[in-house]
């Protein structure tokens, strides 16, 4: 108490001393940058007061102040300067840009930290970089710019990429936690944030940085800080707009009609079949369906922001609109439209009490097409019959587009597929926080924060009646336009609603002892809850078979009861029962409850440094989760780090090295991605879950619902615990070259994994257990150079390097618990990926090939391979038992890169600015899963080099063609694995800032125009569309005809008022 009183006394004493001498004079001056150019809008504050002003367009200012006072000059992005007035009447100052400056802070959990005092591993991407790149999603800005972060992007408008921070520690969930202005969110929420609102992105990587987030920290944390106004800041308005076009970069080589006909004939002949195309000369080139489905698609974005502040409040306001059409099918069927409104307000309710009110509203509307399978729009374009004409030429048949008489099901004309795709969804999200900050006494601040996300979405889809062709077996319309008996069109509508909140109370206190021992302490509690529900309904018989009437309310489908007549047995005469089935799906609906998740946590951290030279940090968190067994609700997480700023030592006297810091950390974090434990009873009918543990039975022709036990409960289920060790250093040379490097080693113990229940336990949902361990280790590095102090030609460049190796070190005792994934269909259901003990997560699992059998002699001399003929693929007998069986399947590839690199170059010359960003991924394999491989599906150009006789080729990619694939050449093997390494020039921007003499300077303070190209160049050996194939851990790298990223050409305008 005494201490506080003394502080208050000192504070007032200072105030009085200032006012006591108050004798105001008028002071003029100018604020210029290091090149001597004026800085408009710079803030000039009289120290110790709230009196301030701002510079005008020419950088001039005028202020009345005491002649013995001090002025504080500041401007965003520049280092503030204090000038004692000392009776002067004219004071001109030169502000220097805040480079990797000593003042720079990073946002860490529940506070900020001066970058010089950080002893953990953190990557940062600044607003300036984000503004240059104009990312559609925030993750795009992290790719290659934040070391330690792997991002695999997707081309579908608005879709979520794969994001991994420091490898793949877990099976059950690898997405990092996202914190927006202190409020926990998920990776899904990043599609909703407008990149123009972002001040900075920090990625917390090591345990010392993430342990304060406890169980949510295990996969790393992305901290997003949005912009806010500053006190006494003159209003600053910006308007950014761009528009452009997107186009496909590459098409896949498929056969033309003549080549197709020849291959089909050869395949048929090889299996003893007839000639399918008697006259190849009539076929010509036919149709390349990729040309038909890829469209040039528009993209545009407009953002208006305003920020500023007065004495008691400051604000940042922004409005944005983004619209992006898809290159597959064009904007009519595939698009993403987003409206953002953001209001970040700070109020000083009293000198001690501050209110922060951040509110964002987002509306997302989008339409999508079938993706990522052989019968999606793109998959059909690759696999559909090239002899078919684009438009229907068969008389007396309905249907706009051509039909195949060979492909009678599964794969349709992609244009027919596209034309009959109807869906839309509309989501509204409101998120933000209400935060009160109270200065209890000097350096002691209490914060109470309520963060929330409210998300509501509605959507519908319509499945019309379609005629696919005269011989098609999946028609719902006949050739004459009448409905196939028993078929109906249908409309499905859904609605879901979620509300999540986090309530946190914490205190920050910092103090020092003897001016050398600096302490920064935070402690607090956090409660969170998320829950929601959804409904969906569908109804048949939409009027006119038209999207225009596609609504539950307008559809007329009804359910009808079947009629059952029981059998009779009268006087030895038996009459059997009869049943005429009714329609039970004319009108159906269901609702579901989203999982309720709750957490309760308390946490604390002490940061310590001695003269900025010796750094230490210790954090602890105790977390409780609703998900775990009754015996293991809570767990503790600790982490510590130490740093030594060698360059601050007196013995270290180097003009060459300006900073050398050595850091190390060790600690634990967790993961709670598992469902709560209880023995559930499922009721009703068929199950669509993984084990298809269906219910019910048919009695007397009528379905009767049933009930059964559907799960096991694991009362001892606990956290997945990650232990991470990190060591690294920061080095700056001559103030303009810096290197940061970290090595990490992360072990997961008690991996949340689905145990392998015995088959004799039946089909209840398998039980989650803490049965595995994994290990990830790697190196993150960032090298950057900047000559920002140069006058005319400014240049900066940075290079990031990210690598991690991942290994599943154990699952259950005998390694039988494993997960197969990566499902695709090529005539058989295939599962090419695995999560298994002894291998990297999600590795490709299948047969190794050893060329082709050239002769029967060779087959006879080789391990037994049932059905093999000359020209078929020879598989490797991995286990050496003399026969090729499933036991010979082995690792045939890895979808995750050995390392990734990002290289950014920025240059400014006079009014021109140029930025080039290149990204490379090395060692990632891609599994080619888009080949349907049906008899009459189209084939890919490599088939032209197929085996046609002894000695023609020994390439396992090119076996003989035949309709009866007795050898199963289509099985999962390294034949389908390709090196997906790539180098992409992801982003090139050339900008020009128009000199102020060209425009009315009273209106604009800055006008910049630019041209930008995204995905300018891709260098890769991969033969598919795009070697970046995102997905879950078991789907990454499995290319089922993934939506490729577009080459985007933009022109834009940035205005500042």
């Amino acid at each position: 108490m005494k201490f506080t009183k003394a502080l208050i006394f000192c504070f007032f004493a200072t105030l009085f001393s200032v006012y006591g001498q108050a004798q105001d004079v008028s002071i003029n001056g100018k604020v210029i940058d290091e090149n001597g150019l004026p800085i408009p809008g710079a803030s000039i504050l009289i120290k110790g007061t709230s009196n301030s002003t701002a510079t005008d367009f020419d950088g001039n200012y005028q202020i009345k102040a005491s002649s013995s006072g001090t002025l504080v000059f500041s401007y965003l992005g520049y280092t503030s300067i204090q000038e004692a007035i000392n009776g002067r009447k004219n004071i001109t100052v030169k502000l220097k840009p805040a480079t990797q400056s000593l003042e720079e802070v990073v946002v860490v959990g529940y506070g900020t930290q001066k970058i010089t005092k950080v002893s953990g591993a953190i990557s940062t991407v600044k607003a300036a970089d984000i503004e240059k790149q104009k990312p559609l999603r925030v993750e795009e800005a992290l790719q290659g710019r934040a070391s330690g972060v792997s991002v695999i992007q997707n081309g579908s408008p608005g879709s979520k990429p794969t994001v991994l921070i420091r490898g793949i520690p877990s099976f059950s969930g690898t997405s990092p936690t996202v914190i927006i202005d202190g409020v926990p969110q998920t990776l899904d929420d990043l599609s909703a944030i407008n990149s123009a609102d972002i001040e900075s992105l920090n990625v917390l990587k090591d345990a010392s940085a993430t342990a304060i987030y406890g169980i949510k920290g295990g996969n790393g944390v992305i901290v997003v800080t949005t912009k806010s106004g500053k006190r006494d800041q003159k209003v600053e308005i910006t308007f950014n707009t761009y528009g452009g076009q997107q186009e496909v970069i590459k098409k896949i080589g498929v056969l033309n009609a003549t080549e197709y006909g020849a291959i089909i004939n050869e395949s048929s002949a090889a299996s003893g079949g007839p000639v399918i195309f008697p006259d190849l000369s009539t076929l010509g080139y036919g149709t390349n369906w990729q040309d038909e489905v890829f469209k040039t698609a528009g993209i545009s974005s407009h953002n208006l922001t305003a920020r500023g502040g007065g004495e008691k409040m400051s604000y940042f306001l922004s409005a944005g609109y983004l619209t992006q059409d898809g290159i597959v099918g064009g904007g009519d069927k595939s698009n993403f439209n987003r409206i953002n409104l953001t209001s970040n307000l700070n109020f000083e309710l009293s000198s001690k009490l501050k209110l922060v009110l951040n509110t964002s509203y987002v509306n997302i509307k989008n339409q999508g097409i079938a993706e990522n399978s052989f019968n999606s729009v793109l998959g059909s374009a690759l696999n559909f019959d090239p002899t078919v004409s684009v438009y229907n030429t068969i008389p007396n048949t309905i249907g706009t587009y051509g039909f195949s008489n060979l492909l009678k099901s599964e794969i349709f004309n992609p244009l027919t597929k596209l034309a009959n795709t109807y869906n839309e969804s509309n989501g509204n999200k409101l998120y933000g926080k209400i935060e009160l900050q109270y200065d209890l006494f000097k350096n002691m601040k209490l914060t109470s924060r309520f963060g929330y996300t409210k998300y509501d979405q509605v959507g519908k889809s319509f499945t019309p009646l379609v005629f696919y062709g005269p011989l098609n077996t999946e028609n719902t319309l006949n050739a004459d336009g009448t409905t196939v008996t028993g078929k109906h069109n249908s409309v499905n509508e859904f609605s879901n609603s979620n509300f999540d909140f986090t309530q946190e109370n914490f205190a920050n206190y910092n103090f020092n002892i003897n001016d050398s021992h600096n302490f920064d302490i935070v402690a607090g509690v956090s409660f969170s809850r998320s829950s929601g529900y959804g409904f969906n309904a569908s109804r048949e018989d939409v009027r006119d078979n038209s999207w225009a009437w596609a609504d539950i309310s307008a559809a007329t489908g009804v359910n009808t009861a079947g009629t059952y007549t029981a059998s009779t047995f009268v006087d030895g005469v038996y009459t059997p029962s009869t049943f005429v089935p009714g329609n039970t799906i004319g009108q159906i609906g269901s609702s579901y409850q989203n999982l309720t998740r709750k957490n309760a946590s308390y946490f604390g951290r002490i940061n310590y440094d001695y003269n900025d030279k010796y750094l230490a940090s210790f954090s602890a968190r105790r977390d409780g989760s609703i998900a775990f067994g009754t015996k293991n609700k809570f767990a503790n997480f600790y982490a510590g780090s130490m740093g030594w700023v060698v360059s601050k030592e007196e013995f270290f006297n180097s003009d060459f090295i300006s900073l050398l810091k050595i850091r190390g950390s060790y600690g634990t974090t967790g993961n709670e991605n598992v469902s709560p434990q209880y023995v559930s009873i499922s009721t009703g009918g068929p199950s669509y879950n993984q084990t298809a543990n269906s219910n019910g039975y048919t009695f007397g022709g009528t379905f009767t619902p049933g009930a059964t036990v559907n799960s096991f409960a694991n009362d001892v289920l606990r956290w997945e615990k990650q232990t991470q060790f990190n060591v690294g250093f920061d080095l700056s040379v001559l103030n303009n070259l810096s290197l940061t490097a970290d090595y990490f080693d992360k072990k997961v113990d008690g991996l949340l994994f689905i145990d392998a229940p015995p088959l004799m336990a039946g089909t209840s949902e398998p039980v989650a257990s803490n049965i595995g361990t994994t290990q990830s280790k790697g190196v993150d590095m960032m090298l950057s150079y900047s000559n920002s102090l140069a006058k005319i030609f400014k240049f900066n460049s940075s290079l990031t390097f990210t690598t991690s190796t991942n290994l599943v070190t154990a699952t259950n005792n005998d390694g039988t618990a494993l997960i197969n994934g990566g499902f695709y269909f090529n005539g058989l259901s295939q599962y090419p990926t695995r999560f298994e003990k002894g291998f990297s997560p999600g590795y490709f699992y299948g047969f190794q090939t050893a060329g082709l059998f050239q002769s029967f002699d060779e087959i006879a001399a080789s391990p037994t391979q049932t059905g093999a003929q000359p020209g078929d693929i020879k598989y490797v007998d991995v286990n050496g038992d003399g026969k090729i069986t499933d036991l010979d399947k082995t690792k045939i590839g890895d979808p995750f890169p050995k390392f990734t690199m990002g290289w950014n170059i920025g240059a400014e010359y006079k009014n021109f600015d140029l930025s080039v960003f290149t990204y490379a991924s090395v060692g990632n394999d891609v599994y080619r899963a888009y080949e349907r491989n049906a008899q009459y599906s189209n084939k890919f150009r490599n088939i032209l080099d197929r085996w046609t006789g002894q000695g023609t080729t020994n390439d396992a990619n090119n076996p003989r063609v035949t309709f009866s694939d007795t050898n199963s050449n289509a099985r999962v093997s390294d034949r389908y694995v390709e090196d997906g390494s790539f180098v992409k020039i992801k982003n090139v921007v050339l900008g020009y800032t128009i000199p102020s003499l060209w425009y009315q300077e009273k209106v604009f303070s800055k006008v910049r125009i630019y041209a930008q190209v995204k995905n300018l160049v891709t260098l890769t050996k991969y033969t598919g569309f795009d070697p970046e194939v995102p997905g879950g851990i078991l789907d990454t790298g499995v290319d089922r005809g993934n939506y490729p990223q577009a080459r985007t050409i933009l022109a834009g305008l940035d205005l500042k008022f």
Binding site: K408, T485, F527, S577, N693, P758, F963
Partner: protein
């Protein structure tokens, strides 16, 4: 002053901490989830759970396919050699220990057993310790005991010695503790369950798919036959022979929708197409019969009067089967559908079809040939057709065999039963043959072809080695125990696999 502050602080802190503990308690009812503790509180709970004991019957439709493809009756067909690879292996006698079809049949049978076990475990008292009594409870338990016997019977005839447990649904602590029991013990349990069922079930014949006393007697007779207890079999089967069943005159019509649960039906697995099931991760787990799709002709089309729908051609009758029928036997037409002959005979229907690409026999399984309008939703998975498991003619033939092979044979009775089956097949009494066990075995093939029993009959009667190419004595009498079960549960494999 100071102390008060600390005390207040401490209270606040404590209340926060205790709040924490409660905050993360999980109540499944918040998500409207029904848990084990909420269930088996009423008659309808017991009834619903009993209904789901029937569900795995539907999931066993691939056993019917297996039973003929593994024999000399049918081939796996398909688009090519890797199409339906699990069936090709069975057909070609190259089955591996990780054959997914066998794994599924094993798992599905045990799911049925676990479901029944759960109900028998809580028969007298539910989990809360309450007794829920209602009229018809004993009969209900009679039904489910039949089902357990049926699941174990299929396991034992497919795999030989199998894990046997009847007292509970397996829980986490049971995993890895249960070994295989000798075949004889499994049969003893099957007999016990069936006797319980026979005693509990009423003698009425509801014919709506519910298990009847006759079904239990017929199955018990079959179980005795498999164990070569011919005297027991004969007397047990006579209960059914003398029951309210008659042979249908028109053989073909037995397998039409209108013939379902007909006068010849003793036990039939019921399917319906009201649920447009579409889960390809569990093709057999809807209400529809996936096995029907497998019988269909590829790319079949024609005028709207043409009644058949197309399918996959992955279960094709062998020419050898068609050749076994004598002239005038209406079962040939009713079993082996010659699509080309049909096309030629019906030019008005404008029949078009694709020749089966692999292992073509030109023949299709007429008993379950897909027909238009019998499926819904994901058409491949939702065929309405019931699977005939035990027909009256099967009972007659089993009884005849039992009488012939009994230690005190009754040849006259056997001859009479055989005659009834032959007479129906030919529509006259001019095609009778003299009864012997071999004659009955051949007749079983003709009568029951493509209904899933042929392989098991051949093994049971020691004819497999001579009739099936690739069959190895001492190995192929049973299928391999699924490798995954061996890996996880540490049980033994069958000999020579």
């Amino acid at each position: 002053m100071k102390n008060i502050k600390y005390i207040v602080g401490l209270i606040v802190l404590l209340s926060i901490f205790t709040g924490c503990e409660k905050w993360v308690d999980f109540d499944p009812h918040e998500e409207y989830a029904v848990t084990e503790a909420d269930y088996l509180r009423s008659e309808s709970d017991y009834q619903s759970m009993a209904v789901s004991c029937y569900s795995p019957l539907q999931w066993l439709n691939q056993l019917v396919v297996l039973g003929d493809i593994a024999s000399d009756n049918a081939v796996a067909g398909g688009e090519n050699a890797s199409d339906v690879a699990v069936l090709q292996q069975v057909d070609d006698y190259t089955t591996t220990t990780n054959n997914g079809l066998l794994e599924d049949l094993w798992k599905v049978s045990y799911e049925g057993i676990n479901r029944v076990n759960y109900l028998t475990q809580y028969k007298d008292l539910n989990i809360a310790g309450e007794a829920v009594d209602f009229a018809g409870k004993e009969e209900l338990y009679g039904e489910i005991k039949f089902l357990r016997a049926y699941y174990y019977f299929n396991l034992v005839r497919m795999f030989g010695d199998v894990p046997l447990f009847v007292d509970r649904k397996l829980g986490l602590s049971d995993f890895g503790t249960i070994q295989r029991s000798p075949k004889a013990d499994v049969y003893a349990q099957i007999e016990t369950d069936l006797m319980d069922a026979i005693n509990a079930l009423p003698s009425g014949n509801p014919k709506n798919g519910r298990v009847t006393k006759y079904a239990a007697q017929a199955l018990l007779g079959k179980v005795y036959l498999y164990q070569e207890k011919f005297t027991d079999a004969a007397s047990m089967l006579d209960n059914v022979v003398n029951g309210p069943f008659t042979l249908v005159d028109d053989f073909d019509s037995i397998f039409l929708l209108s013939g379902e649960n007909g006068s010849e039906s003793v036990f039939e697995v019921q399917y319906s197409n009201g649920f447009p099931y579409y889960n390809w991760g569990g093709t057999t787990r809807g209400q529809g019969n996936h096995a029907v799709q497998q019988c269909g002709v590829r790319g079949l089309s024609g005028t709207s009067a043409m009644p058949f729908a197309s399918g996959w051609s992955t279960n094709l009758p062998a020419q050898d089967l068609a050749a076994a029928y004598a002239d005038g036997d209406q079962r040939k037409e009713g079993t082996c559908f010659d699509v080309e002959a049909y096309k030629i005979a019906n030019p008005d229907l404008e029949v078009k079809y694709d020749v089966a690409p692999y292992k073509n026999t030109g023949l299709y399984n007429k008993k379950y040939l897909p027909r238009k309008g019998q499926t819904s939703g994901q058409v491949e998975l939702n065929y309405d057709n019931n699977q005939r498991i035990i027909r009256y003619s099967d009972v007659l033939l089993m009884a005849a065999e039992a009488y012939v092979r009994s230690s005190a044979p009754n040849v006259a009775k056997a001859q009479e039963y055989l005659n009834r089956v032959r007479d129906r097949a030919f529509g006259d009494d001019l095609h009778r043959v003299t009864v012997s066990k071999e004659v009955i075995w051949d007749e079983r093939r003709l009568e029951l072809a493509m209904e899933g029993d042929r392989f098991f009959d051949l093994v049971r009667t020691n004819q497999a080695a001579t009739k099936i190419t690739g069959f190895i004595v001492g190995k192929n009498e049973v299928f391999p125990i699924p490798q995954r079960e061996i890996d996880i549960s540490g049980i033994t494999q069958n000999p020579n696999w």
